[in-house]
């Protein structure tokens, strides 16, 4: 097992180098190179920040030297200073934004599991039933609904028409004056819609995935054996079939990282949540290149990490993988 993990970790090294190479090239292929892009198109880049940028990239050096330095800085997560007026280090800005993004995504992942797994299992067990047909239609609709549109509709319904839930930010104006319980309740009320919407995209996919896994497993010989032994259907479904159908779901968890990150740009922007997605959007709108490259790189790291965890988790759960 340890050998499998070690081999799998080693495989990520060339990809890490690849990520750094792609982001390095992107910066240099931008119209006019990193300095030109910043100065031509970004009115906020002052002469001083331009000079700082030039020194940062060491543009007088040959390309391979520049890349070597870039690689060294990426290893220490040093992405330079933001173009924005505060001019703070990009790494610092990202670090303070990550927790809220992760919190929302983890919560929504929990929601996906709670809803999608029972729906998928039940549709598979009762294949062709009314429930299966309704959930299939819901899944197809779910795939086709633009999340940001659903967010708008929910804001109109729960925020504007019914007035039940706040529609922007993560805390009310009087947040500081609230007691501990009040603070938790207030934060919770602000997070309901974002978590629901962050999870929505994954719901359809996950329940469909669970359904087809379950259908696959239920056809297997050992399930027939369990039935032949006279075990109650409930035991067959939950103890024998579902356990094995759940295995590949671990993989999906790891592989959904890039989609969740992309989605966070959209819902954080809509709900004015100060997370990494909103920071990225602001960076794109103000052409803050160091910030953009920093978040792009962090996003790629997280994706790679997700892939790695998916593979290792699957190998832990399924001995066939690590031996094969």
């Amino acid at each position: 097992m340890l050998r499998y993990i070690a081999r799998r970790v080693l495989l990520t090294v060339p990809l890490l180098v690849g990520i750094s190479l792609v982001s390095f090239l992107m910066m240099h292929m931008a119209p006019g190179g990193p300095i030109g892009a910043g100065t031509d198109l970004n009115p906020k880049a002052t002469a001083e920040s331009r000079a700082r940028l030039k020194a940062y990239y060491g543009l007088d050096q040959p390309l391979h030297v520049q890349y070597g330095r870039w690689l060294g800085r990426m290893a220490t997560l040093d992405f330079g200073d933001s173009f924005s007026p505060d001019g703070r280090p990009v790494a610092e800005k990202i670090k303070e934004r990550i927790p809220i993004t992760l919190t929302i995504n983890v919560l929504s992942m929990g929601l996906i599991f709670l809803v999608a797994i029972p729906v998928g299992v039940y549709s598979a067990v009762r294949k062709g039933s009314l429930f299966d047909r309704i959930s299939t239609v819901a899944v197809f609709t779910g795939f086709a609904i633009p999340t940001f549109w659903l967010a708008l509709l929910m804001m109109i319904l729960f925020g504007v028409k019914l007035g039940w839930l706040p529609i922007s930010g993560i805390s009310s104006l009087d947040y500081e004056s609230l007691g501990t319980l009040g603070k938790i309740a207030d934060r919770g009320r602000h997070l309901v819609l974002p978590v629901l919407l962050a999870g929505f995209g994954g719901l359809a996919g996950m329940s469909r995935y669970m359904r087809s896994n379950m259908l696959e497993v239920i056809r297997q010989d050992y399930v027939a054996t369990a039935r032949a032994k006279g075990l109650p259907e409930r035991t067959v479904v939950f103890r024998h079939a579902m356990r094995n159908a759940l295995l590949p779901v671990i993989t999906i968890l790891g592989l959904s990282v890039p989609d969740l990150l992309g989605g966070s740009v959209i819902f954080e922007t809509i709900f004015a949540i100060p997370g990494m997605g909103q920071l990225f959007y602001q960076g794109v709108m103000s052409r803050d290149y160091p910030l953009i490259m920093g978040i792009l790189t962090i996003g790629a790291f997280l994706t790679l990490l997700g892939n790695l965890l998916a593979d290792v988790g699957y190998a832990l759960a399924d001995p066939r993988i690590r031996q094969g």
Binding site: I145, P146, M155
Partner: protein, 284 residues
């Protein structure tokens, strides 16, 4: 009658018998028609500003209401269909062409060509697609052409892997060996024998890809970094919907419905093509 024509007719019959796929196809045809003859569906100009009638709810004169500049929402949704269609098809065209090229090269030649290309695909797949698209757009000017190019250039990796896998198995088949024995060169084998046999999975991927591209374009336009006003796109009408969320629900509802129905149409057709091409996969 040639054998391939019989297979084609069989395929078409299976596809049409699938009611959901046929409905999807009908939706797509409808929006083609809307894009080709927008004047037939909208009686107003999409960009005619009417300051007297701003933010009017749906009525006889404006069936879907008016926006914050008094423009007819129905007309904007109708003309927005063109944008979606154009972005969807051009972006997927780029992605499919690139994916085909890389996949065929990689699968057919193998060896170091394959190793280099597939590591590059792995690398590209490390970047969250939406992040990558936003980053590239930050370096360029947001415009419909750049959007199409960027969506296409960041969406080819799946097709490449698919084509590579198909090519790997196809090139070992007897009919390829037979063609080789008859003295066919690489180009002839690739284009006459391998490529035609990869078309069914590619068609499925492309149909689903159009749906994805339309969703991405609408999200980008919604965020203000896609199709720029005054050109109407479903995404940027929704931006005005968000800005007027407290007064004008019709600005948010209708463009989103158009996106939903269109994307659903392409998804259903795509699934239908998959089932018709390979009936064994049905119901999965």
């Amino acid at each position: 009658m040639s054998g391939s024509r019989v297979i084609g007719r069989d395929f078409a019959r299976r596809l049409l018998r699938n009611r959901l796929a046929a409905a999807g196809g009908a939706v797509i045809l409808f929006f083609f028609l809307v894009s080709a003859l927008p004047g037939l569906f909208a009686s107003h100009e999409p960009n005619r500003i009417d300051i007297v009638n701003i933010l009017r709810p749906p009525s006889g004169a404006h069936p879907l209401g008016t926006d914050d500049l008094g423009r007819d929402v129905l007309a904007r949704v109708v003309y927005g269909a063109r944008v979606s269609l154009k972005v969807g098809f051009v972006a997927v065209g780029i992605a499919t062409a690139l994916g085909l090229f890389v996949g065929l090269l990689s699968g057919f030649y193998g060896g170091w060509v394959d190793a280099v290309l597939m590591r590059f695909v792995d690398m590209m797949l490390c970047f969250p697609t939406f992040f990558l698209i936003l980053s590239v757009i930050a370096f360029l000017e947001p415009s419909i052409w750049n959007i199409m190019a960027v969506i296409g250039l960041t969406g080819w990796m799946g097709v490449a892997r698919l084509v590579r896998a198909e090519t790997l198995s196809l090139k070992e088949r007897d009919f390829v060996a037979a063609a080789r024995a008859q003295g066919a060169g690489d180009a002839r084998i690739i284009f006459r024998h391998v490529l035609p046999n990869t078309l069914a999975p590619i068609l499925v991927a492309a149909t689903l890809g159009v749906a994805g591209a339309i969703l991405t374009e609408s999200a980008l336009s919604f965020l203000g970094i896609g199709v720029q006003p005054p050109t109407p796109s479903w995404g940027n009408i929704l931006t005005t919907g968000k800005d007027n969320i407290e007064f004008a629900w019709w600005l948010s509802l209708f463009p989103g419905l158009a996106i939903l129905v269109t994307v659903l149409g392409y998804n259903l057709l795509g699934e239908g093509i998959r089932d018709a091409a390979d009936p064994r996969l049905k119901g999965r």
